[in-house]
């Protein structure tokens, strides 16, 4: 139902628009994600939790140009979460934490774009949000097993600005052409929330993020086929630091997640 709604919207806008717009799908077959949580609150030992899963990531980007001066773009990225080993850099080498963590990340960026004076380079301003969750199981702290599994969630909303540059569209051309497209977005988080909260500590909320995308490829009529590279970073501060009775950590206050890797893209110009 959502797909039908989206298709109708695209077709409607393609009728009312006099400029060229595009809709693209992205796939990162083996994106590397790196999570690092630091700080402590209830956690009495240890200071760093890390998990680095290798997993597929997909994205949708929809850019609509109202005219030569204004464009809207929204993009959504999501990974396919898988369990991976999470380990704990401990203060004491005798007490470490190991567990299996399933890291899930979704982000949505929506913005307005306008070109600089006498330039094809565009300036971007918009809002964005991120949601990530950690499902932890098989937790071993020192020589003790923690029964059960635990879900930690982070939500963040922010504003971003950035720069976009790329080649002009050549839809409708009779011969295949080439294209390139790139953007850098820098975000500041104004609001963050987590479920496993604790009191105490100092840096409570906030954070920042960036997103970098570079792609290029061939254009066949209204279809684009490209390859590129995506790199994103999300740094989310929350009042985390929850520990389990045996002492292991199931949330941390300062959370950084990197996502990066090469992608293939398929686009439609309308």
């Amino acid at each position: 139902m959502r797909g039908v709604f989206l298709t109708v919207c695209v077709l409607f806008l393609s009728v009312v628009s006099k400029a060229s717009s595009d809709f693209s799908l992205y796939g990162l077959p083996q994106a590397l994600m790196e999570y690092e949580g630091t700080g402590y609150r209830e956690v009495s030992a240890g200071w760093e939790l890390k998990v680095k899963p290798l997993c597929p990531v997909g994205g949708i980007r929809w850019r609509h140009e109202f005219n030569k001066q204004w464009a809207l773009q929204s993009q959504y990225w999501v990974n396919r979460p898988t369990y991976a080993e999470e380990s704990w850099n401990a203060r004491s080498p005798d007490v470490k934490q190991f567990d299996q963590t399933r890291l899930s990340l979704q982000s949505l960026w929506a913005d307005v774009r306008a070109p600089l004076w006498a330039s094809p380079v565009e300036v971007v301003a918009g809002v964005n949000g991120a949601y990530q969750s950690f499902r932890r199981k098989n937790i071993v702290y020192g020589s003790t097993n923690e029964p059960g599994d635990y879900l930690e969630t982070h939500t963040a909303l922010g504003v971003h600005m950035g720069v976009h540059a790329g080649s002009q569209k050549n839809s409708g051309a009779h011969r295949p052409g080439s294209y390139w497209d790139s953007e850098v977005l820098l975000s500041h988080y104004l609001w963050t929330k987590n479920n496993l909260t604790t009191s105490g500590g100092t840096i409570d909320t906030g954070g920042y993020a960036y997103s970098f995308r570079l792609e290029g490829g061939l254009v066949f009529g209204r279809v684009r086929l490209g390859v590129g590279y995506l790199r994103q970073m999300y740094e989310i501060f929350v009042p985390g630091g929850r520990s389990l009775p045996e002492g292991s950590a199931v949330s941390l206050p300062i959370n950084k997640t990197d996502l990066f890797g090469p992608f293939i893209s398929l686009g439609w110009i309308y």
Binding site: T38, G39, Y40, V43, S44, A45, W47, E48, Q69, R91, A114, P115, L116, W117, A118, S119, V123, A125, V159, H160, M161, G162, V163, V184, L186, S187, H188, G201, T202, I203, D204, G206, G207, Y208, Y210, M233, E235, F237, P253, I254, K256
Partner: protein, 273 residues
Amino acid sequence: MRRLFLVIFFMGIGGIAGAGEFSLTVLPTAHLDYKVAGKIPGYVADFEGSKAPLYRLEWTQTHVPNGYWGLSLWHTGVFGGGTWGQETVPSESAGAVSYQINSLNVGFTNLFVTYHRALFQGPVEAQFHMSVVREIFKRRDFVFPSSGTVATGLDDVNELSAEGMGVGLAGIHGKRFFFRWQTAVHYYVQIFDAQTDASAGSIFQAEGGLGWRASPRFSVELGGLWQDWFILGQGNRRLSVDGTDGAIISYNRQLTTLGGFYVKADWRFGERP
């Protein structure tokens, strides 16, 4: 006296250059809040905050739609008349008296090199920044209640610096009476600090104010400014103090927010665009 000197200095440079625009922005009673966290248990501190004037000196080339450059220098801290606040480091044991209490002043000196370019039309421009930022922490009056030790004469200054790039938007709406706004987000790395993560933090700035152009060459403006700055550091440094585990003087993660009302004076030199 120092402030008067700076005003005269920049007006003098403007006169010599014969073109461009100079401005001085002062937040007389900016409130600075500083929060820290470390990677080691018990490694946080509570800071009561401080008041400190913030000064921003800015020079730009003559404003033209197809691009011009500018420099701005931001400073706050003891040098500019800032006050000291109390920093408290709690003990690792719950309920125990504090491990350490000391006076702290947090300041910074940040340099932004900015390229301005108008958007396709209207009064809004985009800004592209490169910056070098330095945060300065001054500590003195160390007392260790948990061990009853007073470190007489001990003080410390340490700094964090980072290099970054940023983007922003700004606009001026109106002529004789105008509304000006500006916002920017910066991303930082630490080129000269190999032991800290490449992602070294960010600065987010927002400001807005109402102004009066008293003459074609001079305007004055009142408004508010807010800055949020997160920066990483190697941290975990202590000074040796007999009878204690040492005076804690640095942390891994620091969040500094600053806000207040500003007064801005702006002088134009040379021909108007």
